[in-house]
């Protein structure tokens, strides 16, 4: 035993560097065990989903800006249309097509309508591009984050917000006719997701992303159909101009545009949930998932 010890002591100076390295490795392992691994395992219990990276946020912001520009352009034309239509009704022009005054109002109305269609045909391609970009980037994120990286079970846990305090957070407003301007809707979306990293949890983001994606799909479809219709509507109105007729179709188009852009919707009643904190502490069964 002693010679061995002596030999060891004698070799101490030479073996200091390897021993220091070994000590460093132990230290590193301890650090990993105490700090890094718990952090990694925490990451496993609360998975982060990357639904709104900067590129998606930029697409949403851009769509909002384009929508605002389109609204500004159309607002004036639609306001004039409304005024002229009211005048036409107040003058009891319906059924009095031969009256020269009524014919003049009808022609003015038709001209404003054509103006509105022109503005739309000018702005819609930008709008369509912006909406389609947002739709495509959301589609990629949804497919990758919720479709390929999650099972139905992990999706359920994400939606329930496992380990998160749901009671304090208000639920995101679900899809539907919001009764607000298109640009404001995008502003809302942007605000919702841009502040998400600070105060929104994964479950809300999954719902917001899904809501927005389906909304974009509808908007994109609607824009494409509107673009197809504009050429036909323009031709029809040019023909009508010769006769000074206000068609129900014309009225319908104007109402449709107003509804999409300015949110003239009838919002349905909402069902309230019970106030939080009014229930007793829940029993947790050992059988519970």
């Amino acid at each position: 035993m002693e010679p061995t010890n002596r030999t060891g002591t004698g070799a101490a100076a030479g073996s200091r560097a390897p021993r220091d390295r070994a000590a460093f490795r132990y230290y590193l392992a301890a650090t990993l065990a105490l700090i890094v691994l718990p952090a990694l395992s925490f990451g496993k219990t609360a998975p982060t989903i990357q639904l709104f990276p900067t590129t998606v946020l930029e697409d949403i912001r851009q769509t909002g800006t384009v929508a605002a520009e389109m609204e500004t352009g159309l607002q004036e034309a639609i306001g004039r249309l409304d005024q002229q239509r009211r005048l036409y009704q107040e003058a009891k022009c319906e059924g009095a097509g031969d009256d020269p005054g009524c014919q003049r109002i009808a022609k003015q109305l038709g001209a404003t309508y054509l103006e509105m269609l022109n503005i739309m045909s000018e702005r819609l391609p930008d709008m369509e591009r912006a909406v389609n970009n947002t739709h495509a980037s959301l589609e990629r994120r949804l497919r990758s984050e919720l479709g390929n990286k999650m099972t139905s079970w992990t999706l359920q846990e994400t939606l329930l917000g496992v380990g998160e305090d749901r009671a304090r957070e208000s639920a995101p407003v679900l899809r539907g006719r919001s009764g607000i301007r298109l640009s404001q809707r995008f502003q809302q979306y942007y605000r919702l997701v841009a502040t998400s990293s600070v105060n929104r949890n994964a479950h809300s983001l999954a719902v917001i992303a899904s809501d927005m994606y389906l909304d974009m799909a509808e908007a994109s479809d609607l824009i494409a159909r509107t673009r197809e219709e504009i050429a036909r509507a323009t031709l029809m109105e040019q023909l009508n101009q010769s006769f000074g007729v206000i068609t129900p179709e014309m009225q319908e188009v104007v109402d449709g545009v107003k509804a999409i852009l300015f949110g003239d919707y009838e919002a349905g009643p909402t069902v309230s949930a019970p106030p939080p904190g009014t229930f007793e502490e829940e029993y947790t069964s050992p059988l519970e998932f």
Partner: protein
């Protein structure tokens, strides 16, 4: 015929009938639960019957107990059902997985119908309609277990909202998965 033989025959017939009657009566009486409004009494009786050879009646007992619990509601019923299922697991009447499914289907916000182990694009989306139909049926059971048996309205509302959110998120996700 000899009177002694007749007597023997009558005696045999009566004995046979008595055996048959007593046999039928024993089977019916042993496996039926007492008519009671008390969940505790009904659970005790069910546990005794299960230990006494009526294992095959487990599903019927569980359904009857839920029915009785609806008339005797309260938050403590979750614990009662959990303990009943754990006892059944201990006796080997149910596997742990079966007990978990029976409990969570009625008394948990989470859905047993959403237990897939594979990714959503590959597994859940192709059977989305079926999954949602099963969730809807399970929501009815949760209405019974959480709302009517345990008076856990908050839990039931969460389960209802979870169903709505899952429907929305699956619609979007599955559309995204199927896109070119």
């Amino acid at each position: 015929m000899n009177p002694a033989n007749i007597r023997t025959l009558v005696l045999l017939a009566l004995t046979g009938m008595a055996f048959a009657l007593s046999g039928c009566a024993t089977t019916t009486a042993d496996c039926s639960l007492p008519r009671t409004a008390s969940l505790d009494v009904a659970m005790e009786a069910a546990e005794a019957r299960l230990a006494d050879g009526c294992e095959a009646e487990f599903d019927r007992y569980y359904a009857e107990l839920l029915e009785i619990a609806e008339g005797d509601p309260g938050p403590e019923n979750k614990r009662r059902f959990s303990e009943f299922l754990l006892a059944a697991t201990d006796r080997g009447l149910l596997s742990t997985r079966q007990a978990e499914r029976a409990y969570n289907r009625y008394f948990n916000v989470k859905y047993v119908s959403l237990m897939g182990d594979y990714n959503n694009c590959a597994y859940t989306c192709p059977r989305k309609r079926q999954v949602l139909t099963e969730m809807e049926a399970e929501l009815l059971d949760k209405e019974r277990g959480l709302l009517r048996v345990s008076q856990d309205a908050a839990g039931y509302y969460r389960a209802d909202r979870l169903f709505q959110e899952t429907e929305l998120v699956l619609e979007a996700t599955c559309t995204a998965c199927g896109a070119p």
